[in-house]
């Protein structure tokens, strides 16, 4: 892992709420190499966004608490930095784009103001330089007539255009790592495809690494190098994208892939779903979190939570059972 850009170990994030402690992220470890695209998939509430926000120090504390962990980015631990130090990292080194472009831009500031801000703050550009750069950026993300649109307000842009603006903002200081938190979820399908393509182009042009959070396995297949599957605050499987689709080795991944609608599915068959519901994160985890819904479950699963076990080269799964044979490991 010599060229690893970000190395996260044993990250645990909890929220202390009036109802009790929410165990949102329960000791995840992963790495991102320079220029690589890592996808994090999982259903809503499995801790994808919270783990990323923990890295950037965007989790409100209290009620949140980074209980343990390290996140080594370029030889320094992000989780130990002060708020002032993090302000230099955010936007400059690591950028984040969010799910809903309709609410992620400040409605009362012009797009130009919002775009030039980080240029002036992080790169110390003058207003004129920043505006020139902003025009370039908007052009880069495919917004027509960028010079004129700098003076427009967010409500004068469509959803897809706003997401392009958000991407332009995120890329303004050419970060080494872009965290994209479900950037296509709020957009319609044709726009989604455009945004995915745009990000793929920009990644190649700017040599940046991307962490792409999504629950759309179709998007993952198209652009990720490596995939992390999360469930209830744990990483349950980690694999190169091809391996994951060819030989999923965690029951949850298996179930997720089986639940994908397929064009060639017979019409009289029902779409498969996963029985049961995700575990209540208010209860301190005990045993494998997927055990109650798992079709391969064995007695051991209910008492002891498996850690990631290497099942193949660059492919690990947190399961006591070999899903191909059904035999315990």
């Amino acid at each position: 892992m010599a060229n690893s850009l970000l190395q996260v170990s044993n990250l645990r994030t909890r929220f202390h709420t009036p109802e009790g402690t929410v165990y949102a992220v329960n000791g995840i470890s992963f790495h991102v190499n320079g220029g690589e695209t890592v996808a994090i998939v999982g259903e809503s509430g499995c801790g994808k966004s919270v783990s990323m926000m923990s890295l950037l120090g965007l989790v409100p504390t209290p009620p949140g608490e980074i209980y343990s962990g390290t996140a080594i980015y370029r030889q320094s631990d992000l989780l130990k930095k002060t708020e002032a130090e993090m302000e230099d990292v955010r936007g400059r080194e690591i950028s984040m784009i969010f799910q809903d472009p309709m609410t992620s831009l400040n409605p009362v500031l012009t797009v130009g103001r919002q775009l030039t801000e980080s240029l002036r703050v992080h790169l110390g550009m003058t207003q004129a330089e920043a505006e020139r750069r902003a025009v370039e950026l908007l052009e880069q993300v495919g917004i027509p007539d960028p010079a004129r649109r700098l003076g427009d307000y967010p409500h004068q842009f469509s959803g897809g255009m706003r997401q392009r603006v958000m991407i332009a903002m995120a890329l303004s200081c050419t970060p080494s790592l872009l965290i994209a938190d479900e950037p296509t979820t709020a957009l319609d399908v044709t726009i989604q495809a455009q945004i995915v393509e745009l990000v793929a182009q920009l990644r190649a042009a700017l040599h940046m690494a991307i962490i792409w959070i999504t629950h759309d396995l179709g998007v993952v297949a198209g652009m990720a190098d490596r995939v992390l599957v999360m469930y209830a605050g744990y990483i349950v499987e980690e694999a190169d994208v091809q391996d994951l689709y060819d030989s999923p080795s965690h029951p949850y991944t298996l179930a997720l892939l089986a639940a994908l609608p397929r064009v060639d599915r017979r019409r009289d068959q029902r779409l498969k779903s996963i029985p049961g519901t995700p575990p209540n994160l208010l209860v301190e985890p005990h045993g494998c979190p997927f055990a109650p819904r798992c079709e391969f479950v064995i007695e051991k699963c209910r008492h002891e939570n498996p850690t990631l076990i290497e099942v193949d080269k660059n492919h690990s799964s947190a399961c006591w059972v070999n899903v191909k044979t059904g035999a315990p490991r």
Binding site: L58, I97, L109, Q114, A170, S172
Partner: protein, 314 residues
């Protein structure tokens, strides 16, 4: 792709009228509010009266007393009559108007700055900052304002010497009154600003701003504050009327701006003894205070409707 994008702006120009800017939209809505326009015109006339009148009468004339001319009813020579020591009331309402309007505006400026700072810090940071600032705010709200004003006027009054400004001298009490009105009236605004900040800081665009490395101070003043401008404008406008009234009643009780500097309020003070015998003494300054506060309240109402983000009519 390129052929498409180059023709797109052209197409947009053809299809749509340019969107209205916020200030233009507010003006269009404000204009439809008849009473607000009336109030606005009234205020413009009052400002013209106070500042334009200075070209007709000198300040020396306004402060010139001739006891042989005391308590004269309105006449051609003294259109508003003369007061108990023979000064021309018309000239005094002109110079008094300048001071009263000045007190109203500057006191509100102080009030707005204090209210925004306290409200913004309390709302944005929350926790113990919020707790401390809001307890102070509530404590001040629980003391009757008039009592607070009088105590402070008594305590600070007379300690500041006359000040020279733009070739004219003013009673130092003007500054005292401005400051004490400012620092006794910011609490309501602070609560409004705090409430706005509480809801705005949870919005996604604030998270997005933080994710691009924006510092807290910039988020407070450059990202959240512009979103709260509408209620602040409305509240501040209405406060100008309250500040003018506050000056009037402290001056009426003799603790406000000291003679010879005239204000509409201290002109009323001297007229209390002549309610029946010389009604012109209180009628003109009283009427001017009434018209000013009325005008400001109409404008405030108009702005409230015009700046309401839920209103979609033009």
């Amino acid at each position: 792709m390129t052929a498409q994008t180059s023709s797109l702006p052209q197409l947009v120009d053809d299809l749509s009228t340019p969107p209205l800017s916020l200030s233009r939209l507010v003006w269009l809505r404000f204009r439809r509010h008849k009473m607000a326009v009336f109030g606005g015109i009234l205020l413009i006339l009052l400002v013209l009266y106070s500042f334009g009148g200075a070209f007709v009468y000198t300040e020396k004339y306004a402060n010139f007393n001739d006891t042989s001319q005391r308590l004269l009813p309105p006449s051609l020579e003294h259109p508003f009559g003369t007061d108990s020591i023979g000064r021309d009331i018309l000239a005094r309402t002109i110079y008094g108007g300048q001071i009263s309007l000045f007190i109203g505006l500057v006191a509100v400026l102080i009030e707005t700055i204090l209210g925004i700072i306290v409200g913004a810090l309390a709302g944005y940071y929350g926790g113990w900052v919020d707790a401390i600032l809001m307890r102070i705010t509530e404590a001040l709200l629980n003391i009757p304002t008039i009592f607070l004003l009088l105590v402070m006027a008594k305590f600070f009054g007379g300690k500041i010497p006359e000040i020279e400004f733009a070739g004219r001298s003013f009673s130092g009490s003007v500054v005292v009154i401005v400051v004490i009105i400012g620092i006794t009236s910011w609490m309501y605004l602070a609560r409004i600003v705090r409430a706005e900040f509480l809801s705005l800081k949870e919005r996604e665009f604030i998270l997005a701003a933080r994710a691009t490395g924006t510092s807290n101070i910039e988020i407070i003043f450059l990202h959240i504050l512009p979103n709260t401008i509408a209620p602040i404008i409305v509240s501040s406008t209405l406060s100008v009327a309250n500040a003018i009234l506050a000056e009037a009643y402290i001056s009426f009780l003799g603790l406000g701006v000291q003679e010879p500097t005239a204000t509409w309020g201290n002109m009323l003070d001297k007229s209390a003894k002549y309610l029946d015998s010389a009604p012109w003494l209180w009628f003109f300054p009283g009427m001017l205070i009434l018209l000013t506060t009325l005008g400001i309240n109409f404008v405030g109402d108009g702005l409230r409707d015009a700046l309401d983000p839920r209103s979609r009519t033009v």
